[in-house]
Symmetry: C2
Subunit: 346 residues, 2 copies
């Protein structure tokens, strides 16, 4: 597996036009977000978490938005509609919120088959039913052929916040958990784009995480210190964001990382590290060490957590960094991704 | 001024592909929404109003979403960023909600100049400040050149609902108000697209309506029975939706309709009726007859309502229809628009 990035000096990227990498979940995007958006919309808009937490009346809500431009729109294990609902449900759930309401904004390319729109909407309906959220409001725009790519979907979501997750409590010794195999979504989509025949069993992990997360929060209140769904940029990017400028690192144990053989096979051919590949039904949790085993047990009782496990720990080695410890005692650093690796993966 | 539509039998439109008209705000879109979306997402998702009204905790909120694909992105009197904030603020405000929070989802075409993105974001920031809302969460996706058109923006918004507006209370004799001139947005964009030199004074009316509406609701509580911003499809489409299958009509008085000379000039050339052209800073209100004059007075104290006036009434003639009474006693029917008249106007 190759290290990601293309060898550019990361402090030397100054562009005057939007590049594909600005949508990648890596450093280019962070620069754009942290720079431009903070500058224009003010620090309040700088969303380090997956949802904004906001007071409304006497309650706190989580509010999030996500636009889906994935290609192809039908992929092994899901489609853009299912992805759009689950993605927003998950962004609310990882904040500890109970997802309630979803909006749906379509951009349709002229000539897009209505039969495909029906399939996408069926998937949205089923995904919403499974997650227990309502699609309550929507908007549809149509643009000329060649001015979009089939269908783009924005979903925004509102959740009611009951229990909070405090990332500042993280300390050395906390354990890092994931609810199943790594990289399935990104790699299955890439395999389909490349027409790899040997990967026919590979499916996206696209799934709603709110039932899993609710079970964990109920059974182990106060034990979860951080949750995030590792979508664009994958597990490595989420952990990099977590440890950046902090006095601790994320130490992953290679032999504990659940990666399917087919995913490793595709990754070897494409030169991609699965730790940077998108997941759409996974949550990374940082939890109190003494509660980790119990949380894994709870996860395994829920469909979306059957292959849950501990994959690493918060360490004092290499503060601010993410690294993998290999079986023979070696260490492989996982730097912040600079540029687009898997464009239009969600 | 020509009547709209292209002479198709409106009950005979069955297509298997998305047409430009599916995004028009007319009958094609209504068929798509009422048919497909109701069928797939269930009756709860059928949003007859501009926002969904939802309980959350102990409060009621309004929640809305809108995607902006206007071309050109910079137009006389505004740009896509200002439009995206104001459009969602207005969808909340016409529900009687106090707009609080806005999300911002960008789709950027590879190669889009970052300087243009900065201009758009500056406009969003200024519009949000003026309207008193916060842009609290966002998402950015980038697609390949030729797979989008410069920039598309989705904004979703949350407002706190204080006073409700009950459309079922409407009755014959209620008066129809608007806060200013009709068709400015749609016609100024069309004039720019056609490079009409004589229309250089024409500007979009793009504006936030929440301050105006708040003033009216405060000064005349209980007097407003219906509010809606006449965007895509214009004044005629909003009123058609209001009276459809109801035992009353909307009777407009031609000499009371505020239309700028330049707008009429462009409309004559293009064969467009300004009553079907998009507005982006206008609200149609149906109000109790005895309160109408006072409401107009309140409106005129606010910048966005300086040219407010009574333009018609709820009538018992031609139930379910919208019509204009001309100075010489003639009547011109304003049917529901069938197809796209002004594509990508918002």
């Amino acid at each position: 597996m190759k290290a990601p990035g293309r060898g550019k000096e990361i402090d030397n990227i100054m562009e005057d036009k939007i590049l594909m990498g600005h949508g990648s979940g890596g450093k280019l995007m962070n620069d754009l977000i942290n720079g431009l958006i903070k500058d224009k919309f003010g620090p309040c808009s700088l969303q380090l978490d997956d949802s904004a937490v906001l007071p409304i009346g006497s309650n706190n809500i989580a509010f999030t938005t996500d636009t889906f431009t994935i290609t192809p729109i039908f992929f092994p294990g899901g489609d853009i509609g299912e992805l759009a609902v689950n993605g927003t449900v998950n962004d609310l759930a990882v904040m500890g919120a109970v997802p309630l309401y979803i909006s749906s904004g379509f951009i349709l390319e002229e000539g897009f088959p209505i039969a495909d729109l029906e399939k996408v909407m069926d998937s949205m309906r089923k995904a919403a039913q499974y997650a227990g959220v309502q699609i309550v409001t929507g908007d549809t725009k149509v643009v000329e052929k060649g001015k979009a790519d089939k269908i783009f979907i924005n979903t925004s979501g509102i959740g009611l916040l009951k229990s909070g997750v405090q990332r500042q409590d993280i300390e050395t010794g906390d354990l890092i958990l994931i609810n199943g195999t790594i990289g399935d979504h990104g790699i299955s989509v890439m395999a389909q784009r490349n027409n790899f025949s040997f990967s026919s069993r590979l499916l996206s992990d696209c799934a709603a995480l709110n039932l899993l997360i609710a079970a964990v929060l109920e059974k182990a209140p106060g034990a979860v210190k951080f949750m995030r769904d590792p979508t664009r940029g994958g597990v490595a990017s989420v952990l990099n964001e977590l440890v950046h400028h902090r006095p601790f690192s994320a130490r992953l144990i290679e032999e504990k990382l659940p990666v399917k053989d087919e995913v490793n096979g595709v990754c070897d051919i494409l030169g991609i590290d699965p730790l940077y590949a998108a997941n759409e039904g996974k949550v990374i949790m940082v939890v109190k060490k003494e509660k980790a085993a119990a949380i894994v047990d709870v996860m395994r009782t829920v469909k979306e957590g059957e292959e849950a496990g501990i994959i690493g720990e918060i360490s004092e080695t290499y503060p601010g960094k993410v690294f993998v410890e290999t079986g023979v005692g070696g260490k492989r650093m996982l730097p912040l991704l600079i540029e687009e690796q898997l464009p239009r993966i969600c």
